[in-house]
């Protein structure tokens, strides 16, 4: 069979490795983060090349120069022991960084592998390691460090190893949490079915996801480590033999009356470095954040904005406007990240008479949901109606003040969403959620609202309204949840129901019941319905009229009979041709006569 891949060309037109490039560019567009990275780079360079850069030995003291002033050879002057402050500062960078590095390495080595194993395999290893981690996290870090000093001696490096152990849990928890989620992703299952060994799956599929969060965490923990280390030195807990910024602070503090300026330099170095680490971490998390997230269920369509001007619709707009809903030349646009504008609905016309059910049909990305959202005035962030008119019972809703629009929603037009479960708040009972709009909107008393809720649940054919009323959303089925949402939509007796794929998430047997319900609501109460769907069977079952949408345009519109039995537009024919309703069942299996090699 010939194989049309509609948007393959769009994908191929992209430059390879778009992602890495944009991640780097996005980083460059953050001045604070770039500044922080530059400062850190300088600090690291200074630390690495300290032996070359430092003009003097940091330990060489000459008592005659104690508290000596700055000079050309000693630009920052001398400390209380007559040592060159600049040289101590430079060596301090090396020692401070090494200390933080030791703590980090210990934390990474302990935290990441255990986190990976605990997250991936769970079971006893997870229980035991989580228990140990909780124990370590409940220990007060300073007290443990003080105790370690008493037992292990005042060497700063040993204390930094202890600190590494103390911060390891933050890596363990981070990694374990992410891996626990990734383990349930289908691509990990697929890799297992492909015959990959566990360590390969962990190394490739799992580690790649935790990489970015680890980098961010490293920057944060480095800041903490430097701070704690300086704190220890400042308190004089270490021997103070090694020139570090904390030791310099301690020494300066003892002489604060005599030479207050001595506090400035190590303080500045510490402040700048810590602040840079925090800023870098937040910059990195902005840039890398979404990369590490599990697969986004988002469909990115790369339709460029149409360069050619097309007639706004292929179906001419009827002169008379629909009494219940009327849309003329509606266009919806989205602002793009680069400042451009992309139009997703290119000027459509629709009408619904009172009591009429109109189906809006199309594939994903055709703009059918965008049309529904514009009627309700609930377009997502960045989207707006760029031209055209939408009237509901003669009232223009485009450009209507939000307050007026809100009055219209619920009382005149109501909405039934696609995912029933995610539209119910899990922490309130069904009864509470249905009663609230009644009390706010219609000003009913608590009693009256409750009675009305029971009535509504009865109307949507829920067998035991009182029980459902008291139930929480997780206690009811998906089909029941959709009935509850329809009840909610009907609560203020609207004239128009906008239903966005109301049965897509439901089983077919439940779908049949919900469709019957919608049909009965129309015949009993005379409401008009705009139903957005991709399912032509639903259209045939329920709708009086159909509009077929493709790439933001309505290509064909007419009675259900007309469109489904005698379609005129090639796209409608293609859609109907792809449906499998009339196709013959596959014939019986026959053993193959010839062996075929795969």
């Amino acid at each position: 069979m010939s194989d049309p891949i509609p948007d393959s060309t769009a994908a191929i037109a992209l430059a390879p490795k778009t992602r890495q490039v944009t991640a780097f560019r996005r980083f460059l567009s953050k001045p604070l983060a770039v500044g922080a990275a530059v400062i850190l780079a300088i600090v690291v360079l200074v630390a690495v090349f300290a032996p070359i850069i430092a003009p003097f030995d940091p330990g060489a003291s000459s008592l005659k120069d104690a508290f000596g002033p700055a000079s050309a050879a000693n630009p920052l002057g001398f400390d209380s022991a007559g040592r060159d402050v600049l040289s101590r500062l430079i060596w301090g960078a090396q020692n401070t960084m090494t200390g933080a590095g030791i703590a980090l390495i210990v934390a990474l080595v302990l935290g990441i592998p255990t986190g990976l194993i605990a997250g991936y395999y769970g079971r006893w290893f997870d229980s035991i390691s989580s228990w140990i981690v909780n124990l370590v996290m409940s220990l007060p870090a300073m007290v443990v460090l003080l105790a370690s000093r008493a037992i292990l001696g005042p060497t700063i490096w040993v204390l930094m190893i202890v600190m590494g152990v103390l911060v390891a849990p933050s890596f363990f928890r981070l990694v374990r949490g992410i891996v626990g989620n990734v383990r349930n992703e289908l691509y990990v299952d697929a890799a297992r079915v492909s015959g990959l060994r566990d360590w390969r799956i962990i190394g490739r599929h799992v580690f790649i996801v935790v990489r970015a969060p680890i980098i961010i965490q490293v920057a944060l923990v480095a800041g903490v480590a430097i701070g704690l280390q300086a704190g220890l030195e400042f308190l004089g807990i270490t021997s103070g033999d090694t020139p570090t910024w904390g030791a310099m602070l301690n020494e300066a503090f003892q002489n604060i009356q005599r030479a207050p300026m001595l506090l400035l330099w190590p303080g500045l170095a510490l402040g700048l470095t810590s602040a840079s680490l925090v800023l870098l971490a937040s910059g990195l998390s902005d840039v890398l954040g979404e990369r590490g997230a599990p697969a986004a269920r988002r469909r990115t369509r790369r339709n460029a904005a149409p360069a050619i001007v097309v007639p706004s619709t292929s179906v001419p707009a009827p002169a008379e406007r629909g009494a219940l809903l009327s849309i003329r030349d509606l266009a919806v646009s989205y602002e793009l990240a680069d400042g451009g504008v992309r139009e997703v609905v290119h000027g459509i016309n629709l009408d619904i008479a009172p009591g009429e059910i109109l189906g809006l049909v199309g594939e994903s990305g055709s703009g059918k949901s965008q049309t529904a959202f514009s009627i309700l005035g609930i377009l997502p962030e960045g989207g707006s109606v760029s031209r055209g008119s939408v009237t509901i019972q003669g009232t223009e809703v485009i450009g209507l003040a939000e307050k007026k629009h809100r009055e219209l929603r619920g009382t005149v037009v109501a909405y039934v969403p696609q995912e029933p479960m995610s539209n119910l708040d899990p922490s309130f009972t069904i009864g509470d959620q249905l009663a609230e709009p009644l009390r706010v909107r219609l000003g009913l008393s608590k009693q009256a609202a409750k009675a009305r809720v029971l009535e509504l649940l009865q109307m949507v054919e829920i067998a035991d309204p009182a029980r459902t009323c008291a139930a929480y959303p997780h206690e009811i089925s998906g089909g029941m949840a959709q009935r509850v949402l329809i009840a909610g939509a009907m609560s203020c007796d609207p004239d128009l129901l906008v239903a966005d794929e109301p049965t897509t998430a439901l089983d077919v047997t439940v779908q049949a019941e919900v469709l019957s319900l919608l049909r009965r609501l129309r015949s009993d109460r005379g409401i008009g319905v705009l139903i957005v769907t991709h399912n032509l069977g639903v259209v045939a079952d329920l709708c009086d009229r159909v509009a077929v949408m493709q790439q933001g345009r309505i290509v064909e519109q007419g009675s259900t009979e007309q469109i489904l039995v005698a379609p005129e537009h090639p796209y409608t024919r293609q859609l109907l041709g792809a449906a499998l309703d009339g196709v013959d069942a596959r014939p019986e299996w026959q053993p193959r006569t010839t062996e075929v090699s795969a």
């Binding site: 049949a512 019957s516 014939p587 299996w589």
Partner: protein, 280 residues
């Protein structure tokens, strides 16, 4: 009861998942399910959400624990295998999952995703690269897809990648778990055609799991209907969809609306006559 040409046999399989509470009874989702797939055959498995249809597929793939009964592949037991034996079985049994958005690792390029199973089976990297080229061609994806990440592809294209991954080591059986359910109608049709074409050429068997009876009927030689962890009806596609014996199968069949208004009105009337009164 080994039948002629039989490839996979699932006999009285039970699957139960332990529940989290202390001393709670495990939750059994399959209560003794039997089915078989012959060489080059498509066995359709249709059921609604919560029926256990996905669990059967996962039990066959070794992703769900089998607590009773047995699964044999080419006469050998494959339930509860050791990790090592299971890995060698991956040469014969593969999978295409429902969601093309989560079944491919977003951070790994298409080329690496496809060569992964080949390298795991001991291909050299040069042979793997050649085979990946063939596979892309086989599923009609452009050759320069190799360097790209999944997010640069549409749903239908991603599903083609997933099919290519399943085909990589020329398996005998592919479990298709709702393989086209997330796709648009026209894309769905082209992917189904691709699966049929591959079966025609390679003689691979499919266990085709779906909630959509129309799709299953089109794809399958035989169909089993599963309801709440039990198979309620099995037969040729024609028997099951034209003359269903089990009331649940009838309900499933009649409740799926079709795109012909006049005929759908009749079906709806039949459905309401038969089931709506019972529901109340």
């Amino acid at each position: 009861m080994t039948r002629e040409h039989s490839l996979l046999e699932v006999t009285d399989v039970r699957v139960a998942f332990g529940s989290k509470g202390f001393r709670k009874a495990p939750n059994e989702v399959l209560h003794g399910v039997s089915l078989d797939v012959r060489e080059g055959e498509t066995m359709g498995l249709v059921g609604e959400s919560g029926s256990g249809k996905t669990t059967i597929g996962r039990a066959i793939l070794g992703l769900a624990p089998v607590s009773g009964g047995e699964i044999t592949f080419q006469g050998r037991r494959i339930d509860n295998l050791s990790a090592r034996r299971r890995r060698s079985l991956s040469r014969d049994i593969q999978v295409v999952f429902q969601d093309p958005y989560t079944s491919l690792n977003p951070a790994i390029s298409i080329g690496d995703t496809l060569s992964e199973p080949l390298l795991a089976q001991g291909y050299t990297s040069r042979d793997a690269r050649r085979r990946v080229g063939e596979l892309l061609d086989r599923v009609s994806l452009p050759a320069d897809s190799l360097e790209r990440l999944p997010r640069e592809f549409s749903g239908g294209q991603r599903q083609r990648v997933a099919i290519a991954r399943a085909l990589a080591i020329s398996p005998r059986l592919i479990v298709c778990d709702e393989a086209v359910s997330a796709l648009d109608l026209t894309t769905q049709r082209t992917v189904l055609e691709l699966l049929l074409e591959i079966q025609e050429q390679t003689g691979v068997s499919y266990l085709f799991i779906s909630h959509d009876l129309a799709v299953v009927r089109y794809m399958s030689h035989r169909i089993s209907v599963i309801y709440r962890g039990d198979i309620v009806e099995t037969g040729t596609a024609r028997e099951v969809t034209d003359n269903p014996q089990n009331p649940y199968t009838r309900k499933l069949l009649l409740s799926a609306p079709i795109a012909q208004p006049a005929e759908q009105a009749l079906r709806r009337a039949a459905y309401e006559r038969e089931f709506a009164s019972a529901a109340k």
